[in-house]
C-alpha cells in the first residue's frame, strides 16, 4: 500500500473521470490521474502510482531507478503488483 510503482502513460481515457491507461512493467491498467491535474500529463509521461492513483510525475531515469529498487524488494513488490493486476478501475459508471 505504501509502495510507489512507476508507470508510463499510454493514453488519457476519460477526462471527466480523470482516468488514464498506464503501462506498468508491460501490463496496462487504468488509474486515476486527478491528483496530478495541474501537471497536464500526456502520453509518454512517467508517474508513481499509489493505490490506483498517480501521485507524482517523475522522469524516465527516476522511473528506472524506482523500478530497480522495487524489484530488489522481492515479495513485497510482487504482492503489490498482483494487487494492481487484480484492480478493476474502469471508466463506465453503470457497472459490468
Amino acid at each position: 500500500m505504501c509502495l510507489g510503482i512507476p508507470g508510463q502513460l499510454v493514453e488519457l481515457v476519460d477526462t471527466n473521470d480523470q482516468l488514464a491507461r498506464v503501462d506498468v512493467s508491460g501490463v496496462t491498467r487504468i488509474i486515476n490521474i486527478g491528483l496530478l491535474e495541474d501537471e497536464q500529463l500526456a502520453p509518454g509521461d512517467w508517474v508513481l502510482i499509489h493505490v490506483g492513483f498517480a501521485m507524482s510525475k517523475i522522469d524516465e531515469d527516476e522511473a528506472a531507478l524506482a523500478l530497480a529498487s522495487l524489484q530488489l524488494m522481492g515479495q513485497a513488490y510482487d504482492d503489490e503488483l498482483s494487487a494492481l493486476w487484480a484492480s478493476k478501475i474502469t471508466s463506465d459508471t453503470k457497472g459490468g
Partner: protein, 379 residues
C-alpha cells in the same frame, strides 16, 4: 564491504560511507528514519552494517499498518460482520490483530471481507452491488488519504448511496512532534519520509529545526539515497546548521502537491485526538470525514463498539515505533511472534520494523557477527 558491493553504484556508496565515517568522527549519532519504506530498505540492504558503529539508525512510527490500535481493528471487524455489508480493505490490513482475531478470521467465519488494491475498486464494488452496503477500511498517511478523498468526491458526484468509508487516516507531523517530546529518546536528526512529502511538501517539517533544533533531510528509498541523506544530516550538524533539506528532490517538491492538499482539506478535517498503537493518544493526528460527507462516513452510519483495547502485554511495538528498542530486543521476537503468527502490528506489514528485521535484518546481523566486525571496519 560486502553489502556495498551489491548496491547500484558501489564506488559512490563507498565514498558516502567514508564521508559519513569522517564527519561522525568519535561522536555518537542517533538518527530516526520516520518512514517504514526506509526501514525496509535499511534492513534489506544491510545499511546499518556499512555505517560506522557511531552512527545508529532508529525506526520511527511511519508504517500506517503498524500504528492502528487494537480497538480500531475490532471496530473494523464489527463493521465486517454487519448484515449485508461488504467490507473492503487493503491486503496489508487483513492480518493485523484485533483483540479477538483479525479480518481473515472474520472472513473465515462468514463475513464478506474482500481485499482491494484501491479505494476506487471498493467504490466499483458498491456500484456493481447496489443491494449491498460497501464499507472501505481507509488507512494510511498523506500518501493514501488524497486517494480516499478523491474517491469520496466521485461517490458523491455519482450519488452512490451504498458506499461508506471507515477512516483511519493519520498525519505524519504530530507523531514526529510526540517523539521529540518523549523523554526516553535522544535523537540527533531525522530522515524525512519520501512519499508523504510528495503530498505535504517540506514546510510542515520546519518546526523540527526551528523549535527542537534538530535537522531533517527528506530521503528517497534507494540505499544510496539513505546514505546520502545521512551524510547531509552530518554536514549540517558539523557546520552548526539545523534545517529541513531535501535529498529526494527528484520527486519531492518544496510545496508538495497543492491539488492533493486541497482535495484532502475539502473532504477531511482533523480529529481532536486519535489513539496510536504504542504511542497513546496524540491530538490532531488523524483525519475524519467532514460533516458534508456524513452519509459516507461509516462511523456515522453504523454503531461501532469504539472500545479502547490495551495492546497485548508481550508486545513492545510501542517501544519499537518510538525507536526505544530494536525489534530483536522484544522478548517474543521470532519465537511467539513471527510474520505468520504476529502478536503485534510491527510484525505484519513488510514495512513494519519487526517484519523487515525478521525477513532481512537477522541474516545480515548474523553475517556481521560471524565476520566478527561491522563490515565497514575492514575498509
Amino acid at each position: 564491504m560486502r553489502f556495498v558491493d551489491e548496491y547500484r553504484d558501489p564506488s559512490a556508496a563507498r565514498a558516502l560511507v567514508a564521508q559519513i565515517t569522517d564527519s561522525a568522527g568519535d561522536d555518537e549519532f542517533k538518527f530516526m528514519e520516520v518512514c517504514g519504506g526506509h526501514t525496509h530498505t535499511i534492513y534489506r540492504h544491510g545499511i546499518e552494517h556499512v555505517l560506522p558503529p557511531s552512527v545508529e539508525l532508529v525506526h520511527g512510527p511511519g508504517c500506517p499498518v503498524c500504528v492502528i490500535p487494537m480497538g480500531r481493528v475490532d471496530d473494523a471487524i464489527s463493521l465486517a460482520k454487519e448484515p449485508g455489508v461488504i467490507f473492503t480493505s487493503f491486503g496489508d490490513m487483513m492480518r493485523v490483530p484485533g483483540s479477538r482475531g483479525n479480518l481473515l478470521k472474520a472472513k473465515a467465519e462468514g463475513a464478506d471481507v474482500r481485499f482491494v488494491y484501491s479505494p476506487l475498486d471498493a467504490l466499483r464494488i458498491a456500484i456493481d452491488h447496489p443491494e449491498r452496503d460497501v464499507v472501505f477500511f481507509a488507512v494510511g498517511f498523506e500518501t493514501t488519504a488524497p486517494s480516499t478523498a478523491l474517491t469520496l468526491l466521485q461517490a458523491r458526484a455519482r450519488r452512490v448511496g451504498n458506499f461508506s468509508v471507515f477512516s483511519n487516516h493519520v498525519t505524519i507531523v504530530p507523531p514526529i512532534r510526540a517523539i521529540l517530546e518523549s523523554p526516553d529518546l535522544r535523537l540527533d536528526g531525522f530522515l524525512g519520509p519520501g512519499h508523504v512529502s510528495t503530498v505535504i511538501g517540506q514546510r510542515p517539517y520546519r518546526f523540527v529545526p526551528d523549535q527542537y533544533g534538530k535537522p531533517l533531510v527528506t530521503a528517497g528509498f534507494e540505499p544510496l539515497d539513505i546514505l546520502q541523506a545521512i551524510a547531509m544530516l552530518l554536514v549540517q550538524i558539523r557546520e552548526g546548521r539545523r534545517a529541513v533539506e531535501n535529498q529526494y528532490s527528484r520527486v519531492v517538491r518544496e510545496e508538495g502537491n497543492p491539488r492533493a492538499l486541497a482535495i484532502l482539506a475539502e473532504v477531511f478535517e482533523l480529529r481532536p485526538y486519535f489513539e496510536w498503537r504504542g504511542l497513546g493518544f496524540i491530538s490532531q493526528s488523524a483525519l475524519k470525514l467532514r460533516r458534508e460527507f456524513e452519509s459516507f462516513d461509516a462511523e456515522q452510519r453504523y454503531r461501532l463498539p469504539g472500545l479502547r483495547v490495551a495492546d497485548p502485554k508481550a508486545c513492545q511495538c510501542g517501544e519499537v515505533l518510538k525507536g526505544v528498542i530494536k525489534p530483536w530486543e522484544c522478548k517474543v521476537f521470532g519465537t511467539a511472534c513471527t510474520p505468520e503468527t504476529p502478536i503485534g502490528t510491527c510484525m505484519v506489514s513488510s514495512e513494519g520494523a519487526c517484519a523487515a528485521y525478521y525477513n532481512f535484518g537477522r541474516m545480515h546481523r548474523e553475517a556481521a557477527v560471524t565476520l566478527g566486525r561491522r563490515s565497514v571496519s575492514s575498509r
